[in-house]
Assembly symmetry: C2
Homo-oligomer: 199 residues x 2
């Protein structure tokens, strides 16, 4: 069975679990503590020296890392990753946007403000993350004013990647009420067959 | 002919030009000023409201954005992007690493320190970018101590994506002399058929 080293509060880990739920594939979950100063399980460190999660272990023991690369692997050959080259490139573009302009600001701010609950060492970063996170949400809002999903006319790994940290952005101090099209898109995501909440 | 809206000092733009050189595909280059306060060309803004570069215009006028998504599109079906699912996932993993843990720190620090030459508004960020950029370089160094290339036994878009800002990291205040395996890998990249320098 697939085995996922993960933390239930991590959006990057949730992406993998959400796609596997859509695909109806069973999964063994292995809890990993990600708070500062915590130690990683030895079996995880044996697979990956950095101990970063998510790490997906395939049936034959092959480890895969980087959430969006795992999504690419699992979604290949399914409707969640278009085969057509141009459409696929547009879907991938949003997954890179997520890792470059969205997650570093929105997920990181949530981590320090809400999960660690000790933002003092990063106090001078909070404004920077807020400013850049808002810019990412505004880009999403603009796209969703004329499109139902990201990069495709249907739900794909681009939506999964972006939903993961967007739907908990309020925990990082972002007001999603400012982005009504994002709210409607989140409802569409929650209506997808096999949807499962974070946690 | 392919048309690339780009800035010659941008690593993200260079990635696309480098791959096209490897592939022997001719290219029309359109200069875009990316200094703060500059205005974007009207034909670029008509294609993309944010005016971000690189933007690649295909022969039929289709615009593609996000450097690593463009690499995926152009490299598909060539040796620069493996077909085999596991190998492809490992290559993609490094392209997401680049956009998430490398570019936001190394490229951004270089931009403010070296290109804009006015880092005062971002002074409190410089240490953060330095610390995180060094962590990314250490991860690369570790990988290259046992592997010639990233995620594959041969040169791929993972190497192209990582070379773009690594080889100019010194302009951001990073000392590449601390990472000898990265130096050797950069030599291997420069030896690839069709290699072209940034600029």
């Amino acid at each position: 069975m697939l085995k996922l080293f993960e933390n239930p509060a991590s959006g990057n880990c949730y992406k993998v679990r959400l796609l596997l739920h859509h695909l109806g594939r069973p999964l063994e979950r292995v809890f990993v503590d990600v708070t500062p100063g915590s130690t990683r399980p030895a079996d995880l460190l044996a697979l990956s020296p950095t101990g970063r999660v998510p790490l997906l272990l395939l049936d034959d023991g092959t480890p895969l890392t980087e959430s969006n690369a795992i999504l690419n692997y699992l979604a290949s050959g399914t409707a969640y990753l278009p085969d057509e080259a141009l459409e696929r490139s547009r879907v991938l573009a949003w997954t890179y946007f997520e890792q470059n302009l969205h997650e570093p600001h929105i997920a990181t701010r949530r981590y320090w403000v809400s999960l660690v609950e000790d933002s003092s060492p990063r106090a001078n970063q909070l404004d920077f993350w807020l400013e850049n996170g808002k810019r990412a949400l505004a880009t999403m809002q603009k796209e969703l004013e004329t499109n139902a999903f990201f990069g495709s006319d249907h739900y794909t790994i681009a939506d999964i990647a972006l939903f993961a940290y967007t739907h908990v952005a309020d925990e990082g101090g972002f007001d999603l009420g400012d982005y009504p099209a994002i709210g409607e898109w989140m409802n569409r995501v929650r209506e997808q067959p096999g949807f499962v909440p974070m946690g």
